[in-house]
């Protein structure tokens, strides 16, 4: 057993929390801190980067370098932080509006890049901080108490979108299952490459459809939420050079991601180990001060113009 130098407490701050009482974000925050403790990365080697929204406030509550950036831009900023200093453990966090609405373009293109960071989307199906409008995961035809009319736009499928975009680790978690969520986040953090976790999050103030009770329901004797881990589902691409296996696993994961309603799978849907963007750029793990950039001799370059 590893010696536990850090406990979840070490990743907490004393900052006054402004989330609503009962918000699912609290549980995600705890799971995130538990996951960091489990991975045992020192707080000062962690950077948590967020967008704007209720969820965007998370970094303030984590004892680690915290960048609470712009709405929809957590992913590019996290990419910049990681590429600048690959020795850091970087997490991007944000809401579903942040990630799949205004951030959709960055979401898609980050999938192509596969920089080594973890991206957690707090998916409450609404724009929380702007008072409950439907977000891109709000299912067409549904209407929460904050909405004037039922949604007339279709919802996206975040997991299928992620796989179509090239993500190398694609998972779904649930806020109110602290242990398995912490464990899932831990896996995501350990994954080398961009690890994406869509986290079903309750918003007691605006989302009165998919509530703690709804998620917790038993249907026909089965809990609505179940862990893929408990089935014989295998998310892993075992031979990344085997294109057939890659495609088969992608298709399997996408098919699985469409299961929704009475039975909702949680856990890792897809995972493949391939070189990261940094690997391909041969950046190594060097922080800025250890790059050979501070005293360049450019005479050869200059002379090439003679």
């Amino acid at each position: 057993m590893v010696v536990q130098t850090f406990t979840a407490k070490d990743y907490k701050t004393a900052v006054h929390n402004t989330w609503c009482p009962g918000c699912g974000d609290f549980a995600i925050l705890n799971a995130l801190q538990a996951a960091l403790a489990e991975v045992q990365v020192p707080p000062h080697k962690v950077a948590v980067v967020s967008g704007i929204g209720c969820s965007g406030k998370a970094p303030h509550y984590v004892n680690a370098y915290g960048l609470h950036t712009l709405h929809g831009r957590a992913v590019p900023v996290a990419t910049g932080v990681k590429l600048a200093n690959p020795e850091l453990t970087v997490l991007a966090v944000g809401g579903d509006g942040d990630g799949y609405g205004i951030g959709a373009g960055y979401f898609v293109n980050a999938g192509r890049r596969n920089v080594d960071f973890t991206y957690l989307v707090f998916d409450n199906e609404v724009y929380g901080l702007t008072k409950g409008q439907g977000a891109p995961t709000m299912i067409k035809g549904l209407r929460t108490k904050g909405m004037a009319e039922p949604a007339i736009q279709d919802n996206i499928n975040p997991l299928a979108l992620a796989i179509s975009s090239g993500y190398t680790f694609v998972a779904r978690g649930y806020a109110l299952q602290p242990k398995s969520l912490a464990q899932l986040i831990g896996q995501a953090v350990r994954h080398r490459g961009t690890a994406f976790v869509d986290i079903l999050q309750t918003c007691p103030v605006y989302n009165d459809l998919h509530t703690k009770e709804w998620f917790g329901e038993q249907i026909g004797g089965h809990p609505r939420l179940f862990q893929l881990d408990d089935t014989d589902y295998d998310p892993m691409v075992h031979d990344p050079t085997n294109l057939e296996e890659v495609v088969a696993k992608k298709v399997q994961a996408i098919a699985k991601s469409y299961e929704w309603g009475d039975r909702i799978p949680l856990g890792v849907f897809y995972k493949i180990d391939v070189p990261t963007f940094e690997d391909q750029l041969a950046l190594g793990d060097r922080p800025p001060e250890r790059r050979n950039i501070w005293n360049r001799d450019l005479s050869a370059l200059e002379n090439s113009f003679r």
């Binding site: 000062h44 950077a47 831009r73 910049g80 600048a84 850091l88 950039i293």
Partner: protein
């Protein structure tokens, strides 16, 4: 026959048809021979087929701009000579009108041109480029390689041009020698091709040079023949650039591509991103994480960076440095043409009030200094910065002996933290500058947010904190204004007590300086030139001092409204008397500027709009 010390050679043809390499290799040969070059290209937003042309000014002295007139014109197509008739409203009627009397037009003999009705005071020489090359190759026993070696028609055209310009053939041929590898292997063939072109034209001219470039001494070390865009890249590398993001856009692409090509060897991270929003935000992330970061774009991309500018400034990320390669606007505008129309926008490039630095270098030397030192300022004052450059600066080549990369001040990363157990990233200090830590450093954990925040970087809506933080952030601009010497902000060229003061910025510098010399020489006008090089913080006192004692002031800008004029008035209250503007996407030529200045001086017109009605 008298020697010519200032000749303009021109090469026109369809885009993608090889005029770039032809012109650049010929100019390089002349530069190595000892001539000083100033050259620029005009081209369409197109990949293959539209009209493009290079103008190359060749002199024994440095020139800072192009002349209107051409002495020798080499044309690879009909449009270069006769214009484009395929448009409902043809956009030009060819370059013949630019030729000096007695000028030489060399065109591809394979074109069947009808030149009746065209100017009769110039020489037209059809040269069968392909045939001449084929003959050279056949003679060398390599006739079968014609297709592979067809690029050597450049050398035929070069030789032909040398003849027309009166450049010593041997001097030109010399340029092929001394390479290695494939280049060396082809040296003799190229020399022969050049000779074929040379002889052909000399024969057509009855072995009489029409022009004769003044002989020059071949320098020991050849000068650099360099574009602004490469000078920027080298200065940035010298400054310790660690992280560059970009999304392809004209005319910034070449800087990015050059950096990308050298990324691995320079330990530089270059990321081609999905759009400019990503470009700036990624660069802000890297800046916070401790790398010097930058992104390069032009107007449309910069417009997409507005939100990111406020983010960088409010969170005091210490960078990024943005290189804004201005082109014809607004919107997509004239993507491959030059304009100085983004000054105002660069001063307030986003909502709310925030501090950032804006500089505007005017020539290669300025570019190097500014591109380098702005990284120091970004770190020192912990803010983003914008360097205003333009399409002209991206594409013009000029000879320069060296860039002075080794004479720059040391890298200054500003104030860095020492762990004290209670680190505050946004600590209130007397200077307004809070020592920085970077992620990964022990004891330096910080938070930051785009919301208004307290000293620790956490959100607060406290009115008291708000006022202090605004004072802190905006105060840094005043600090920068105090610390950066005036000598980096403005330059006054020419006599202090001139009759007229010309005010300008950016790449009009070369043209203005050259033209003022002519004005003094030919018209006896004692003028000076106030170059404003730092736009934010604006050098209020320095500019007011110069303009306050100016007898007469004339503004020169390559935009519609005279934006610097507005800025000067906003900051100093001084209204510059006359405005000369040009906004057709083509830089002022020497003649245009000269004529416009004369017209301004002889009248009282408040605004003179200069137009270049050629291609």
């Amino acid at each position: 026959m008298a020697y010519n010390s200032d000749l303009t050679w021109m090469l026109g043809g369809p885009q993608g048809g090889g005029i770039n390499s032809a012109a650049e290799s010929f100019a390089k040969a002349l530069a190595r021979a000892g001539y000083r070059i100033y050259m620029n290209i005009e081209f369409h937003s197109n990949i293959q087929g539209e009209h493009s042309y290079y103008k190359v000014r060749i002199s024994d002295r440095d020139k800072g701009n192009l002349s209107e007139k051409a002495h020798v014109l080499v044309s690879l197509d009909e449009e270069t000579l006769l214009g484009n008739t395929h448009n409902e409203w043809p956009s030009h009627h060819g370059h013949l009108s630019e030729m000096v009397e007695g000028g030489v037009v060399i065109y591809d003999g394979a074109l069947k041109l009808n030149l009746t009705g065209q100017r009769r005071d110039i020489h037209y020489i059809p040269v069968p480029f392909d045939d001449l090359l084929r003959k050279v190759l056949v003679e060398a026993g390599r006739g079968s390689e014609f297709n592979a070696l067809r690029v050597m028609t450049n050398s035929v055209a070069g030789g032909a041009s040398a003849a027309a310009l009166g450049v010593d053939l041997a001097l030109y041929q010399e340029s092929f020698r001394g390479g290695t590898g494939r280049r060396a292997a082809l040296a003799e063939l190229n020399a022969k091709a050049a000779e074929a072109g040379y002889s052909y034209v000399m024969e057509a001219l009855n072995n009489q040079h029409i022009f004769q470039l003044v002989p020059v001494k071949r320098p020991e070390t050849p000068p650099l023949l360099m574009r602004g865009i490469n000078a920027v890249a080298l200065a940035k590398l010298k400054a310790g650039l660690g992280f560059q993001t970009y999304y392809p856009i004209s005319p910034a692409t070449d800087e990015n591509v050059y950096l990308e090509a050298n990324a691995r060897s320079q330990d530089l991270t270059v990321v081609q991103v999905e759009d400019e929003v990503s470009a700036i935000n990624m660069a802000v992330g890297a800046a916070h994480a401790g790398l010097r970061s930058s992104t390069s774009t032009s107007g449309p991309g910069f417009s997409l960076m507005a939100e990111g500018m406020g983010f960088a400034s409010l969170t005091e990320s210490g960078g990024p440095v943005l290189f804004l390669w201005m082109r014809g606007g607004p919107s997509t505008g004239l993507p491959t043409r030059s304009e100085q129309a983004d000054l105002k926008f660069s001063l307030q490039p986003g909502h709310g009030e925030f501090s950032h630095i804006v500089v505007a270098p005017g020539d290669l030397r300025d570019i190097v200094e500014d591109s380098y030192e702005v990284f120091n300022w970004a770190d020192r004052y912990q803010l983003p910065a914008v360097v205003l450059v333009d399409k002209k600066m991206a594409s013009f080549f000029q000879t320069i002996d060296d860039l002075g990369l080794n004479n720059l001040p040391p890298i200054d990363r500003g104030e860095l933290f020492t762990p004290n157990g209670n680190y505050l990233r946004y600590q209130f200090t007397d200077s307004g500058i809070s020592p920085r830590s970077f992620p990964g450093q022990e004891g330096g954990v910080f938070w930051t947010t785009t919301d208004e925040h307290d000293q620790r970087g956490h959100i607060t809506e406290s009115a008291e904190n708000r006022v202090q933080m605004m004072d802190k952030r905006m105060g840094k601009l005043q600090l920068a204004a105090r610390e950066i010497p005036d000598s980096r902000k403005i330059h006054l060229f020419g006599p202090e007590n001139a009759e007229v003061t010309v005010v300008g910025w950016g790449t009009t510098k070369g043209a203005i300086l050259d033209v003022l010399e002519i004005l003094e020489r030919e018209d006896g006008v004692r003028a000076n030139f106030l170059q404003v090089r730092m736009m934010r913080p604006f050098p209020v006192e320095a500019v007011a001092r110069v303009l306050g004692r100016a007898k007469r002031t004339i503004l020169v800008e390559e935009n519609y409204s005279g934006q610097l004029g507005d800025l000067v008035r906003e900051q100093t209250g001084i209204k510059i008397g006359q405005r000369l503007v040009k906004f057709d996407g083509r830089p002022f030529s020497e003649e245009e500027l000269l004529e416009a200045l004369r017209r301004a001086l002889h009248g009282a017109e408040e605004r003179i709009a200069v137009t270049h009605l050629r291609p």
